[in-house]
C-alpha cells in the first residue's frame, strides 16, 4: 500500500499488506499519531493538506529505501484532512528477513517522509489560535 488520502488509516490493514512473505522474519511498523500538545500548548486538532505531487514524492522515498535495504514488502500511507487527537496520520510498515534492516528501513522512510514529502500541518490550539507547523521558523 502506498498512498495519501482522507480515509482513516488502519494498522491492521497495513500490517496485513506486508505480512504475507514467508521468508520475512521481522516486520517494523511505525504509526504517527496526533498528539494533544506541542511545545507546552494544548492542541485540539490538526488539518493536513498536500501538494498534488505528494504520491510521486512518497514513491521516491520508498524507492530509495528499497535500493538501500533488503526490503521484502513495504507499505507507507499518509492521511490528509482534519484529524483529532489520537488519530493516525501516517503508517509505515517494512518486512525484511531480519529485524535490524526492518527497523532501519522503517526509520529512513518515516524520516524522509517528514523531510521531503509535500505535506503541511495546520495545528489548532485550545486557546483558539492556530499555526502552520514549521512554516514560519
Amino acid at each position: 500500500m502506498l498512498g495519501v488520502g482522507e480515509a482513516p488509516l488502519s494498522v491492521a490493514d497495513v500490517y496485513w499488506s506486508v505480512c504475507d512473505v514467508p521468508s520475512a522474519g521481522g516486520i517494523a511498523l511505525f504509526a504517527g499519531v496526533v498528539r494533544d500538545e506541542d511545545e507546552g500548548r494544548a492542541v485540539t486538532g490538526l488539518g493536513y493538506s498536500a501538494h498534488p505531487s505528494v504520491e510521486v514524492c512518497l514513491h521516491e522515498v520508498v524507492e530509495k529505501a528499497i535500493h538501500r535495504y533488503p526490503i521484502q514488502a513495504v507499505s507507507a500511507v499518509h492521511r490528509v484532512g482534519d484529524l483529532k487527537i489520537g488519530d493516525i496520520a501516517v503508517i509505515v510498515a517494512v518486512a525484511c528477513r531480519r529485524r535490524g534492516d526492518a527497523f532501519d528501513a522503517c526509520r529512513q522512510i518515516i524520516d524522509q517522509i517528514k523531510d521531503t514529502v509535500p505535506v503541511w500541518k495546520h495545528q489548532r490550539f485550545a486557546d483558539g489560535t492556530a499555526e502552520w507547523v514549521g512554516s514560519e521558523g
Binding site: G32, S53, V117, P118, V119, W120, G134, S135
Partner: protein, 86 residues
Amino acid sequence: MASVTIRYWAAAREAAGVAEESLDALTLSGALDMARRHRAGDPRFAAVLARSSFLVDGTQVGAGAAATVILPQGAVIEVLPAFAGG
C-alpha cells in the same frame, strides 16, 4: 520579462492572502522580490518564503539557481512552505 503566475500553498497562501497572483519578472528571485514588495515587506510573508521551496513549471529550483533561472513566458511558480508530514 515574462508574464508569470505565482501559486501559493498552505502557509504561503495564508500569508500571501491569495492563492495565486500574476506578475512580470525575469527570474525566480525577481518574481519573489516583487511579491515581497507588493506586501510592503510583510515579515510573516517573508518568513514563510525564506523557509519555502519552489517549483517552476513543476520542476524544483534550488535556492542557488533562483537568481539565474530565466522564467519562460507563462511560467507557473509554486511556493511550497516547509513540509510537516507525519
